[in-house]
């Protein structure tokens, strides 16, 4: 097993290298980072040229990639644009933990990501918990009461929920529970932000502000996962060992929770496991609409502004997590299913 893990980790190195090259080239073809610099006015051509040089954008993409990867503190750079390299560079490169500086904010990329990561995990983990609780409850109920009125209701709502575009759902919830509820004089949710600035960042405020974003993220996934749980449960409860458990006289609750649900949720665990690295990337649409200061919004803003260092930072972290979680999932299989051997 150790040899297998080491081999997979070694394989991950060229894998991540290729991913980083492809992503870097793609990120650099998204547009001109200087486009957002001038605001409402055009930037003077001389200033554009100076900024390009200072940000390293005057170099060919592959040279920019090398500097991004290994830094430029080992070479002389031209600071004043006179064509003479006169000063040692200051970048250490990704391989030495320097993800560069944001073109837009002028701050280290890792500092920016660190600021947003907590907010995203708070939102996404809460949403994931809500998704699991509701999808398991709905899925199990629908399976155990197949073709009941509620099963049909859940099925209908699942299809409606699953087919709704998330941006539309987010705006719908915002206009109903925030804007219109306020207009009708009812208790209402806030439209945007993480907390009311006048009241401060309290637990209550954060929970209140995250209600609509969490609902937006959860509704679609609950619709999806509950259908999955339902079908898995239906398959399991018709198995011989469940019939045996019933025949042994075990209480129905124990048969369902201990025998049926445990087996039915194995594929769900795999599904959720593969989703975990994506939690870090946040929910681009939901965070943007509700102004939640998380990773999804950071990614969207960076893409809009062609802030290549930030984009690359986010994408590389996600890519690395995906590779690592793939290895963890592979290893987990050997524990879940003893028939699988990698050695």
């Amino acid at each position: 097993m150790t040899r297998y893990v080491v081999r997979r980790l070694l394989q991950a190195i060229p894998q991540l290298f290729i991913i980083s090259v492809v992503l870097f080239v793609l990120a650099n073809t998204m547009g001109d980072p200087l486009a957002s610099f001038g605001g409402r006015r055009r930037i003077r051509s001389e200033d554009r040229a100076r900024l390009r040089r200072r940000l390293g954008l005057d170099k060919p993409v592959m040279v920019q990639y090398v500097i991004w990867l290994v830094g430029n503190d080992w070479m002389q750079v031209d600071v004043d644009g006179d064509g003479v390299a006169d000063q040692r560079g200051t970048r250490r490169g990704v391989l030495r933990g320097d993800f560069g500086t944001s073109f837009m904010e002028g701050r280290p990329v890792l500092e920016i990501i660190r600021e947003r990561l907590g907010n995203t995990l708070l939102l996404m983990l809460t949403a994931e918990a809500v998704i699991l609780i509701f999808s398991l409850a709905i899925g199990m109920y629908s399976a155990l009461r197949q073709y009941s009125v509620l099963d049909y209701v859940f099925t209908t709502f699942s299809f409606v929920g699953y087919s709704m575009p998330i941006f539309w759902l987010a705006l719908l919830l915002m206009y109903l529970f925030a804007v219109n509820f306020k207009r009708w004089g009812l208790p209402h949710f806030p439209t945007v932000g993480m907390y009311d600035l006048a009241k401060g960042k309290t637990v209550g405020q954060v929970l209140w502000h995250m209600a609509l974003p969490v609902a937006t993220i959860s509704i679609m996934s609950i619709a999806n996962y509950s259908r999955f749980v339902r079908s898995q449960m239906l398959e399991v409860i018709n198995q011989d060992y469940i019939r045996t458990a019933h025949a042994k006289g075990l209480p129905k609750r124990m048969v369902v929770l201990e025998h049926a649900l445990k087996n039915a949720s194995l594929p769900l665990v795999t599904l959720v496991g593969l989703d975990l690295p994506l939690l870090v990337s946040g929910a681009v649409v939901t965070e943007s609409i509700f102004a939640w200061p998380g990773m999804g919004r950071l990614f969207w803003d960076a893409a809009k502004d062609t802030d290549v260092p930030v984009l690359m930072g986010i994408l590389l972290i996600i890519s690395t997590l995906v590779v690592i979680f793939q290895i963890i999932t592979d290893v987990a299989y050997t524990y879940l299913d003893p028939r699988i051997r990698y050695d």
Binding site: S36, I43, T101, V206
Partner: protein
């Protein structure tokens, strides 16, 4: 068992929420300054014997609610240091805490901040040849930490702008026009120009940096690029100081007790950073924001339905305009359509499109076509030809110019060349794209074909050297909104020398217009120090631009703002919107 399992999951979710909230991103609070007793009274206050302080009795009444104004930004500032940002929204955020020599108020008159007197030829602060300007500084002005604001702070700011170690947004006009900045004493700044520079008042020292805070940073790091002051300027000279900036969430300002006018009326200003204009609209509608910024004309009908919200139109100097490509084969840029070389054809285009109707339909009648680029200012040429919609006149002019539909295909032609023009603008602004479609129909009605060819922002604005489609002449008509050095009317884009070439790709006369009379006037205004003579020059410039249809106004692009009726004394200026934030107030 079932309950245990359920509660376990629920507890995990709640605990995760609490833990993660507690471990939320560290805000960037500004270090508390040592509380100092103000050493001087603001200069404008009459020096009176201090009234006897009433003995303060301990009071049991609850503390008054802090007075707060909240506004929304749908673009997050990239920096709070003017030197590092060209963003309009960053400029707004900076206005609140970092004034320069003066602001321009809601009447576009100078409102003195760090300067004690506005230089004019009459008060002798502008030299006769116009190359030296002396600015007396306000002696009572101080930084929020109690240090005085001196001429050395301005000299330091000048040095930092020009130092190549700093990745500043623009070095203009300091690199081109300023010869030196000197201090004749601690509170007298002397600006020496290489030649008279007319737009000095709107371009020089619109901000100042604290030397005593930033010079040590520069000496240690060799650059100010990473200075903490750029994001959390703890030492400021404006009415408010930045308490906290949490990326993608908010900026909180608190009153600066050491502001030279005295403590502002409000206790705090909050800026909510929202992702887009739609989120801002929802916040306005919900009462979550007191000030709505840079609103779209499409939102006007909704805003007008809101009870507690007042819509304001503010002159910003911007005009949505048509620019014509008059580049010829001789220029380095791609030549425009040959028909555009004929002034009669350009006039016909102006007569053929009903811009009033476009303003009425697409912009809800909230604006109108401007007569010149200096609409609503003294520089606007009062007798400009407005080219009111007249399709008959357009047909007549085109016939006279020899452009007729000889092959009956619905489009005019001449010498085998069809009159089909390429019409370009930036992608993504709906009202522009709608204008294109309507204008296309109007022009088709008089036999002018239109091919729409738009580009995204980042491509559209690329320079000549970068192959930008407009800079390299890949258009016949281009549309965008721009402004002079507002409220100064200066523009140099009409100079022959600004036509970009392979050897001089920096030029910004992307239209290839080289009119000797216009060139002479534009050069003259840039060095003219007599305000009245300058107005006359701009009237001449306006006349040449409109008579020759080198430029055509589509709509006067004033800014739309909203304010919640609970706010008071908010007087938005198109030049420095938040110039009077020190006197903003809110009702209970």
């Amino acid at each position: 068992m079932r309950r245990t399992w359920f509660y376990a999951l629920l507890s995990m979710a709640v605990v995760a929420a609490f833990v993660l909230t507690a471990c939320g991103p560290a805000e960037t609070p500004v270090a508390e300054e040592p509380v100092e007793e103000p050493t001087e009274a603001p200069a404008e206050e009459p020096t009176e014997e201090p009234a006897e302080e009433p003995t303060e009795e301990p009071t049991e009444e609850p503390a008054a609610e802090p007075k707060i104004v909240t506004m929304t930004f749908f673009e997050e500032p990239d920096s709070l240091n003017t030197m590092y940002s060209g963003m309009w929204f960053a400029g707004l955020a900076i206005d609140i805490f970092n004034p320069g020599l003066w602001y321009f108020d809601d009447n576009l008159e100078p409102s003195l901040e760090m300067a004690a007197e506005f230089p004019t030829a009459d008060n002798g602060l502008i030299s006769e040849d116009g190359t030296t300007i002396t600015v007396p500084l306000r002696e009572e002005a101080q930084w929020s930490d109690g240090e005085p604001v001196t001429a050395d702070d301005f000299i330091f700011t000048y040095e930092m702008i020009l130092d190549p170690a700093n990745t500043v947004q623009s070095t203009w006009p300091y690199d081109e026009y300023v010869e030196s900045v000197e201090a004749s004493d601690d509170h007298t700044l002397v600006l020496n120009f290489t030649e008279p520079f007319a737009p000095w008042a709107t371009t020089i020292f619109q901000f100042v940096m604290p030397e005593h805070v930033l010079r040590p940073v520069f000496e240690e790091e060799g650059t100010l690029d990473n200075a903490a002051w750029n994001r959390t300027p703890e030492v400021v000279n404006g009415a408010f100081r930045v308490r906290e900036w949490q990326s993608a969430s908010h900026i909180i300002y608190e009153a600066n007790d050491n502001y030279w006018r005295g403590r502002p009326v409000l206790d705090e200003i909050h800026i909510l950073i929202v992702p887009d204009a739609e989120a801002q609209m929802a916040a306005i509608e919900n009462g979550d924001t007191d000030i709505g910024i840079f609103l779209s004309y499409a939102d006007v009908p909704v805003i007008e339905e809101m009870e507690d919200v007042e819509l304001t139109t503010v002159l910003s100097g911007y005009n949505e305009s048509w620019f014509f490509n008059l580049n010829t084969e001789e220029n380095a840029a791609d030549a425009g359509h040959p028909a555009l070389q004929d002034v009669e054809v350009r006039q016909a285009i102006a007569y053929a499109v009903d811009f009033d109707a476009i303003c009425e339909e697409l912009l809800y009648g909230k604006t109108y076509p401007p007569s010149t680029k200096w609409e609503e200012t003294p520089y606007d040429y009062p007798d400009a030809n407005l080219y009111k919609y007249d399709p008959d006149m357009a047909n007549q002019l085109l016939d006279e110019a020899g452009w007729v539909d000889s092959n009956d295909n619905g489009t005019r032609d001449k010498d085998g060349v069809e009159l089909v023009l390429t019409y370009a603008t930036t992608q993504g602004r709906e009202v522009r794209e709608q204008t294109q479609v309507i204008a296309q129909q109007y022009l088709q009605d008089v036999g002018i074909g239109i091919e729409i060819q738009n580009a995204s922002y980042d491509v559209f604005w690329n320079s000549y050297g970068e192959g930008g489609p407009i800079a390299t002449g890949q258009f016949d008509i281009a549309q965008w909104s721009d402004s002079p050095d507002f409220p100064d009317p200066n523009e140099d884009q009409w100079l022959c020398s600004e036509i970009p070439t392979e050897d001089e790709p920096e030029g910004n006369n992307w239209y290839g217009i080289c009119d000797e009379e216009l060139d002479e006037m534009v050069r003259a205004q840039a060095v003219e120090v007599d305000p009245n003579r300058r107005i006359e020059l701009f009237h001449d410039i306006g006349r040449i631009l409109t008579d020759n249809v080198y430029w055509l106004g589509v709509w006067h692009d004033n800014d739309l703002w909203t304010r919640n009726m609970r706010t008071q004394n908010i007087k938005i200026s198109g030049a420095d919107p938040f110039w009077n934030c020190f006197e903003w107030d809110v009702s209970e």
